[in-house]
Each structure stands twice: as structure tokens, then as C-alpha cells.
Subunit: 192 residues, 2 copies
């Protein structure tokens, strides 16, 4: 059995390598530059090897998205648990979210802009995505205000953050006033 286990390990390692390389390449040169040929060359295997791990490019994007979701959830929890009081927590959450989107644009795209073939807001939604949403809920749920469903509030607040993140990065909003927009959002939306 040891042989099979070793092969299993090698296979898993190579899968991680593919995902990590795809992410790296996407962050460096954008998702357009992530072609199956370039990716194969970087991992020093031929193209068909990619297809023995993933159904296609979209599944690779999906895998990057899942990793990003796990990472984002951790970052959000770290930021909010270090803050005192609801207001500080919500502000920290918002800042961390936007910061993550800005620092990892390719990963953020994989999660929310590109088609990674992932299910959302459904039963079969992968755990990392549910957990990232849960991380938002944990902090936002306590400032939803009376009579407002915390889930609905979380969705709405999240959508606002997502809008800020994407429009800012796409050059649709002037980048300078980002912080003031965050303060406005937190001050108005959250019931403190």
C-alpha cells in the first residue's frame, strides 16, 4: 500500500502546485495570461496532465477561488477578533475585505467575477464559500438592527463592499476617497 500512498501524495502535491501556479500567474499577469499551455509549462508538465486533475480551466479557477475564500475568512476573523466593540469590528471587517480584494485582485476575480463553476447560496455550495459568508455574518449579524434579518443584512452589506471593491479596482471610482466611502457605509448601514 505504501506505493499507492506515495503516488497519492505526489498527485495531491501536484494538484496544489497547479492551483498555486495558476494563482501566481494570474496575480502577476492577469487571468488572460493563464492559458493551459503556459500553466503546463510552468509546472513542467504537458497540458493533458492538467486535465487529469481538473475538468478544465474553469475548475482550476474554481480551485483558486476556494483557496481564496478560506484565506479571506481567516483574514476577516483575525481582523474582527482583534477589534473592540461592534463599530470597530465592522470597520475592521470592511477594511480587511477591501484590502483583500485590492491585494489579491486575481483571487478576488476568481471568487466573484469569473465563472469557476461553483454553486453559491445553495445547498451544495462548497464549505469554504459558506464559511467566508459565515465570517461576514458573525460580525455583521450583531449590527443588523431590530426587525432586520441578519442574513439579509449581511447580504446587503456584503454587496455594498463588493461593489466598492470591483468598481474601485476597475477604475470606475476615484481611488483616493476609499476610506471615506467605507466610513460612510459603516456609519449609515450598521446599527450601533
Amino acid at each position: 500500500m505504501s506505493v499507492q500512498e506515495r503516488k497519492e501524495r505526489e498527485r495531491a502535491g501536484r494538484e496544489r502546485l497547479i492551483v498555486a501556479t495558476a494563482r501566481e500567474l494570474a496575480e502577476q499577469q492577469g487571468w488572460d495570461a493563464v492559458t493551459t499551455r503556459r500553466l503546463a509549462e510552468r509546472i513542467e508538465y504537458s497540458q493533458p496532465v492538467l486535465y487529469s486533475h481538473f475538468r478544465g480551466k474553469r475548475e482550476i479557477i474554481g480551485a483558486v477561488a476556494l483557496g481564496g475564500a478560506t484565506e479571506m475568512a481567516a483574514a476577516l476573523r483575525a481582523a474582527t477578533s482583534a477589534a473592540d466593540g461592534p463599530r470597530a469590528r465592522v470597520t475592521a471587517l470592511a477594511r480587511t475585505y477591501l484590502d483583500f480584494a485590492e491585494r489579491n485582485p486575481a483571487v478576488y476575480d476568481a471568487m466573484f467575477q469569473l465563472d469557476g463553476g461553483l454553486a453559491f447560496a445553495q445547498e451544495d455550495t462548497p464549505e469554504p464559500l459558506k464559511d467566508a459568508f459565515a465570517a461576514l455574518w458573525e460580525t455583521l449579524g450583531e449590527v443588523a438592527g431590530d426587525g432586520v434579518h441578519p442574513g439579509l443584512f449581511t447580504e446587503t452589506f456584503w454587496a455594498a463592499l463588493h461593489g466598492l471593491a470591483t468598481l474601485t479596482r476597475a477604475g470606475r471610482l476615484p481611488p483616493g476617497d476609499a476610506e471615506r466611502r467605507v466610513e460612510l457605509l459603516v456609519g449609515r448601514l450598521a446599527v450601533l
Copy 2:
């Protein structure tokens, strides 16, 4: 000179045909299906003709986006001018915006998701885009509240709408509660 004028008219007409066909095809089958070959076939010309009107595919997307911006600005103004009082105006604005995004997903993508080679939030931003933003400002500026710059408020509110529009359409948010999210957003963000 009449000959030249006629050619000019024909040329302009064909350009409109290209843009309209691209939009139609994108709405029917998604932007992925809008290839230069298919587009050329639909307008009953060969591919190179497209390139005598536009630098490339991205410019065609940009042209669709500009048309969409004009249309959206008109829709927003029509909706807000028919409403009485700030609250009704803001609600009508939000609903109309989201409705436009939902009914014209391909055009909305051309405007805000895809790269149409357009400048935003800059001096050389095309007039239709500036005007669409102005349409938002006209209604949102009056509910920014004291001490908040109306432009900043408009940007923030717009970002929230954009987030709702994109996340809903991408299946990231459950579609049923759209109306309640709008009410929450309007009730909290706008100072009435």
C-alpha cells in the same frame, strides 16, 4: 458631394447595425458567443469590415456600453421624475437601476464588467457615462445628509447597487429577497 454624403450615411448605418447586432447576440447567447466571425456573419459582411469601423472587439463592447449608458440615464430620469418626494425618488432610482441590470445583463456587463476600453472617473470619460452618473447624482445628492459630499455619497450608493446587481445575477445572492434588500439599503443609506 451628395455621393460622399450617401456613403457617410451608409457607413453610419452599418456601424449602428454592428453595435445593435453585437448587443442582440450578447443578450441572446452571452458575450462569449459574440465572436467576430459570428458577428460578421449576422451583419452579412466579412470580418475585416468590423475592423474598418472599430479597432477590435473591445471597441465594439465599448460602443454597446455607451448606448447602454444613454439608455440607463433616460430610464433613471424617467423613473425619478415620476416619483413624489425624496424617498420615493430614491426607491424608484434603485429599483430602476436593478431592473435595468436584470433586463439587460449583457449591456450591463459591457458597461461595468467587461473591458470596453473606456475611461471612467476622468476628464476624458465619454459623455454618456458622465451623464448616467449625473442622473444618479441628481436624485441621490439631495439625500446625502449634512456634512457628506454628495458626489461621495452617490459613488457609495451606486457601488452598493452595483454589488447587488452583480451578485444577484451571478447567483451569489438568493434572488427572492431583492426587494427587501433594496428597502434596507434605501432606508439606511439615504437621509430623508
